[in-house]
């Protein structure tokens, strides 16, 4: 279970990224976080993974109170989360296989388990023939699929996808969204931060609309409606 309680993120007197955000996400949910650029979607994601700290309020993730975690405890939290970024963020010096394996290696999983799991997950995202390729040898869609494989390989409770289709053409965008839906159907909570209206509307899932740092709308089977 994820919960934001009266969360504020204020950078300075002229810049408030989030204001009194209250949000609760249950296990297994698929939630779209929507809003214009600068609405606070990415800040919400950064607060959840501990990359930034809230100015006020409390953030819960399972047994963790994220806002109270020290630098040394953050890696432990992040191993329960899979993250997919708009710009893929693959390690340039590692092959597709090694990028996916890295998420297991940091958690100290044994080599035998890694050798078994990674090809399975890469097969699931349709990249079993590109395991030995480096990121610069892959297309945008392929890179994002490697990123998704990396995000899911350690079976996290939650996958956060921050604008995962922002750098992709419509065909590859749908490919990625279908993949994320499939992962959600297997029981993983999915948080999709996006500003792509067509995608959100066709998903027919819960939609949380942010505007200027506030939660404006929170609807089951919602639509992307801009005020």
């Amino acid at each position: 279970m994820i919960a934001f309680q009266n969360v504020y993120k204020i950078y300075n007197s002229h810049s408030t990224a989030l204001e009194d955000v209250n949000l609760r996400i249950n296990p297994g949910e698929f939630v779209s976080l929507v809003g214009r650029s600068g609405a606070g979607k990415s800040t919400l994601v950064k607060l959840l993974i501990g990359e930034e700290r809230p100015s006020r309020g409390r953030i819960f993730f399972g047994q963790y109170e994220v806002n109270k975690l020290g630098d040394n405890e953050l890696p432990g939290l992040r191993r329960h989360i899979g993250i997919v970024f708009q710009d893929f963020r693959l390690l340039p010096n590692k092959t597709a296989y090694e990028n996916v394996a890295f998420a297991l290696e940091v958690a100290g999983r044994p080599q035998r388990e890694i050798a078994e799991l990674v090809p399975q997950v890469l097969d699931m995202v349709g990249l079993s023939d590109k395991m030995g390729n480096f990121p610069h040898e892959l297309s945008g869609g392929e890179k994002q699929r490697v990123a998704i494989a990396r995000a899911m390989v350690h079976r996290p409770e939650v996958i956060i996808a921050d604008e995962p289709t922002g750098n992709l053409d419509p065909f590859h965008s749908w490919e990625i969204i279908n993949l994320l839906q499939k992962i959600n159907q297997l029981g993983t909570t999915l948080i999709l931060a996006t500003h792509e209206k067509d995608i959100v509307n066709s998903l027919d899932k819960r939609v949380v609309t942010l505007d200027r740092g506030r939660v404006m709308r929170d609807e089951e089977n919602g639509k992307y409606i801009l005020i």
Partner: protein
């Protein structure tokens, strides 16, 4: 724990190899820095040798009145030898002094003839005294000035050469001090250059560090491979700088032999190869690890 350590080494080696040019550039800069360090080691060896050869030329000679018996001279010799400041005392008897004089002027017939015509040996017996350190001559001279000893002396050369000896001692001290300061400054400059090079290489990896942390890598797992890369660069640079120093020592050896007779730089390099390599290794690995540690630290917050 063992798994994590072996992964840190594996990542470090793999990254070093795959980074290619940036790794080669870091090693090249480190080779330059270490070569400078090797240069300093040579410089210190050369100045030490130069100082030794100058020091070797400084001594005090005490000339005894002709009526002093050999026993009395040997007593003075023994008492001097008991001083901690004294390195060695050489006794030159009147006969020995005459023989040395003849030997020195063997080629000069006029002097040889004149000496041969002498019926009495005009030379005085003497003691040549060497101090452990040149600045100890003053205290030895003071010891010799005591009346119970000075009654036997005709002259003590220290008092004649005092100005020259003092100046030489001053120069030696300055060269020592200057050499030390120069070593510290240049080692610091070399260290800073390497530190900045590694800092820049890690700056270009800052996104990668962010990704590792986002995926849940602990600080040790993020920092470790960079430190391993620093160590590899340090070891390679130490080996290469020693390989480069060999021909440098070989070809410049002749020039230094002219300046300081009896000093062979290449022989010094060859006999001190292991210790030079260990110094280089220590400096290279130390600066490589420390630079990586410090440079990664700033990207490990949050």
């Amino acid at each position: 724990m063992l798994t994590i350590i072996s992964r840190i080494f594996h990542y470090g080696f793999a990254n070093f190899w795959r980074n290619g040019w940036p790794s080669a550039a870091t090693v090249a800069i480190m080779v330059l820095a270490l070569s400078m360090f090797a240069g300093l080691i040579f410089f210190n060896a050369i100045t030490d040798q130069a100082i030794d050869s100058v020091q070797d030329k400084i001594d005090i000679s005490v000339y005894f009145k002709t009526n002093t018996s050999e026993d009395q001279i040997l007593n003075v010799k023994r008492s001097l030898e008991s001083l901690s400041e004294v390195k060695r005392v050489e006794y030159v008897s009147t006969d020995e002094a005459l023989a040395r004089f003849k030997e020195r002027h063997r080629e000069d017939e006029l002097i040889t003839q004149a000496v041969d015509e002498l019926t009495v040996n005009p030379f005085e017996a003497s003691l040549d005294i060497k101090a452990v350190h040149p600045n100890q001559y003053a205290s030895i001279a003071e010891y010799l000035a005591a009346p119970n000893l000075s009654q036997y002396f005709d002259k003590v050369t220290y008092f004649e050469n005092q100005v020259v000896i003092d100046r030489l001692v001053g120069m030696i001290n300055n060269v020592n001090r200057g050499g030390f300061i120069l070593t510290v400054i240049l080692a610091l400059v070399a260290g800073l250059v390497v530190f900045n090079t590694i800092g820049l290489a890690i700056y270009s990896s800052r996104e990668e560090i962010g990704i590792m942390r986002a995926v849940g890598a602990s600080n040790a797992l993020v920092r470790g491979p960079f430190m391993v890369e620093g160590v590899i660069a340090g070891v390679l640079a130490a080996i290469l700088s020693v390989i480069l120093a060999a021909p440098a020592a070989y070809f410049t050896s002749g020039y230094f032999e002219v300046l300081i007779p009896g000093f062979d730089l290449f022989e010094y390099f060859y006999t001190h190869l292991l210790s030079i390599f260990l110094y280089q290794l220590l400096f290279g690995v130390g600066i490589g690890m420390l630079s990586s540690f410090m440079a990664v630290r700033r990207y490990l917050r949050n």
